[in-house]
């Protein structure tokens, strides 16, 4: 998912697109995950307002909708930062020192799973991104960076002017 795409779409259009996705599934409750995917792609994160709207349209209890949205890592309940670092913690990356990358990001930016207060950077972790040959790997704004070092992260952070 290109992280900057949602902001580009005009607001009213997004509502329409979400409505179309729900309609495609005949507003079936079973399509909740698909609908949440579409919403996340359109808006970048799932606000309470959005979740309420989806719950009403799909005739689902709000607690179920939030329960599902909070269960999957893919969904975000808060706005993502301008840039996102997702550190792979799969076995190969872990062995190659991914934990040191998380530590560096947490030290310089914010705890994994959160976004810096200025909205600049989000730090995420993932199980295995399937790029074991590139270990340790980090997904930076959708692109996979190979054999990342803490110093490499420092350079990236300086380049985008974090902190």
């Amino acid at each position: 998912m290109p992280p900057n795409a949602p902001a580009a779409a005009p607001k009213d259009n997004r509502e329409k697109l979400l409505e179309r996705a729900m309609s495609r599934h005949q507003y079936s409750g079973d399509a909740l995950i698909e609908v949440l995917h579409t919403a996340q792609e359109l808006y970048g994160f799932l606000s309470p307002h959005l979740l309420t709207a989806i719950a009403h349209k799909l005739r689902l209890p709000p607690s179920r909708v939030l329960g599902v949205a909070s269960f999957y890592h893919f969904f975000s309940l808060k706005p993502k930062g301008e840039h996102t670092f997702t550190v792979c913690l799969g076995t190969a990356c872990y062995v190659a020192g991914a934990l040191g990358l998380v530590e560096r990001l947490e030290k310089r930016c914010c705890k994994a799973g959160t976004t810096t207060p200025d909205g600049k950077v989000s730090v995420e972790t993932a199980r295995c991104i399937g790029s074991c040959g590139l270990a340790p790997a980090v997904i930076y704004d959708g692109a996979v960076l190979a054999r990342v070092t803490p110093e490499g992260l420092d350079r990236e952070l300086e380049r985008i002017g974090a902190k």
Partner: protein, 238 residues
């Protein structure tokens, strides 16, 4: 419907096809420990306390979800199962902040009773001491996440019996917690009817009547059988 014969703990028993090991065992006086199961609502196999050994199967099976089969040989109380259950109760104790001595449900708590019956006099694991809030925004009831074991009885009774589905589970793993509606305070929930069924089925002091002091909370679970029988069979049992 066909009758099936099987062996549980060396005893020959019979049950109807479709019945679970758990319910057949209980009908025959073999009481398998459980926290998430409660008669009258669906089973989810969340607590894993009712795990049993089934001959010919390497893995343990959740008795509340496993249907009986002809000729099955089941053991419910082996040393392996005992050790397993003990560890589960200890994990539950260590996961949240269970402090029996100052709990509203002291003396009437299913978790406490399980621990007692298993001879758990201490927990071998390091306590996590998570910080959880208490939600007393509802006018009549309170929810103390510190005492929740995530059995989801409240979620199911609210969905299946009351029909409101106010409760659900937020997040995953150790970060899970019970939420009402979109995670707002219980008192702000629009779907909650205030029926209190969740409070009565909660096995611990997590859901309680507001205004109860230490060791004062007692729960009445008889209503569930009454309502479910009334609904399904149009019989109002005394």
């Amino acid at each position: 419907m066909s009758v099936k014969t099987l062996e549980i703990d060396g005893k020959m028993v019979t049950g109807m096809a479709g019945e679970t090991i758990f319910s057949v065992a209980w009908e025959h006086g073999i009481h398998i420990p459980r926290l998430c199961h409660i008669g009258g609502i669906s089973d989810v196999g969340a607590c894993r306390l009712c795990m049993v050994e089934v001959e010919g199967q390497r893995k343990l099976q959740a008795a509340c979800l496993t249907q009986i089969e002809e000729g099955m040989v089941v053991r419910t109380d082996t040393p392996r199962l005992k050790a397993h259950r003990k560890l589960i109760v200890e994990l539950l104790m260590a996961e949240r902040n269970h402090i029996c001595a100052v709990c509203v449900a002291n003396g009437a708590c299913e978790l406490q009773e399980l621990a007692r019956s298993m001879g758990i006099d201490h927990v071998r694991l390091r306590y996590r001491f998570p910080v959880f809030p208490v939600d007393t925004s509802n006018e009549r009831f309170g929810m103390d996440h510190n005492r929740c074991v995530l059995c989801t009885r409240c979620v199911r009774v609210c969905d299946e019996v009351e029909g409101a589905h106010t409760w659900d589970v937020f997040g995953r793993g150790a970060g899970s917690r019970i939420i009402s509606d979109l995670g707002e305070p219980w008192g702000a929930s629009e779907s909650c009817t205030g029926c209190g069924k969740c409070v009565q089925v909660c096995p611990t002091g997590a859901l309680f009547d507001k205004g109860k002091t230490v060791a004062e909370m007692r729960k009445d679970r008889g209503f569930l059988k009454y309502i479910v029988t009334a609904r399904e069979k149009k019989q109002w049992i005394g």
